[in-house]
Subunit: 102 residues, 2 copies
Amino acid sequence: MDAQLRRGLLDVCVLAAIKNEDSYGYKIIKDLKPVLELSESTLYTILKRLEEAKMLEVRSTEFDGRLRKYYHVTPSGVKRIGDFKEEWKELMGVYSFIMEEN
Amino acid sequence: MDAQLRRGLLDVCVLAAIKNEDSYGYKIIKDLKPVLELSESTLYTILKRLEEAKMLEVRSTEFDGRLRKYYHVTPSGVKRIGDFKEEWKELMGVYSFIMEEN
DNA sequence: GCGATATACATCGTATCACGAGGTATAACC
DNA sequence: GGTTATACCTCGTGATACGATGTATATCGC
């Protein structure tokens, strides 16, 4: 997929992957793999950004002697997903324009 | 609309606006306005990039004493629009995932 | 005639962002 | 005991959109 198009989906996609059940970096990558492949460096950048934007909250735990940071979607993060649905409508409008011309 | 999401559409949208009839900067902005607003600085950056990528060809003309640069979509540009249709399918897959989780 | 607006182009600097490369450390498996 | 899986992190780079700013002519209203 085009790099630019990807970028528009990444944040919301990560939020969606966490929303129903708190999750952590390594798991998110595996869960998203069938839908959208993303590297660790990309994901951790996104998680950090979403945390700074207060759309995610973190809870650090220890699991089998390894650090595991569970992320939880805040109401603000839920709102972001909702906004995406509205944006999608606009996106469909642009898509229709492109198709009309072809 | 989200800035990132926009970015994925800009190039193809500009190509689509020119494809059926050669056009020039100022006109493209006006034509796209109902669908997608973009500033001059943004458009000229895009036109330049698409020209360098050989998806557009330029023909400079004089009109009423003013310079006017007509852009024409090359076969390579047409292909770009076609590729977008494929990308859209992938995009729909991601969209479905986001909706499923909500 | 003159100021405002429309037409039409261009460039520079900034902020944002994805991602590859590279790093650390433990657990599990063969 | 070596390889793979799990799990985190950081730095540098290249790409990009966009606001601000600049130049120049034509047209329209008064």
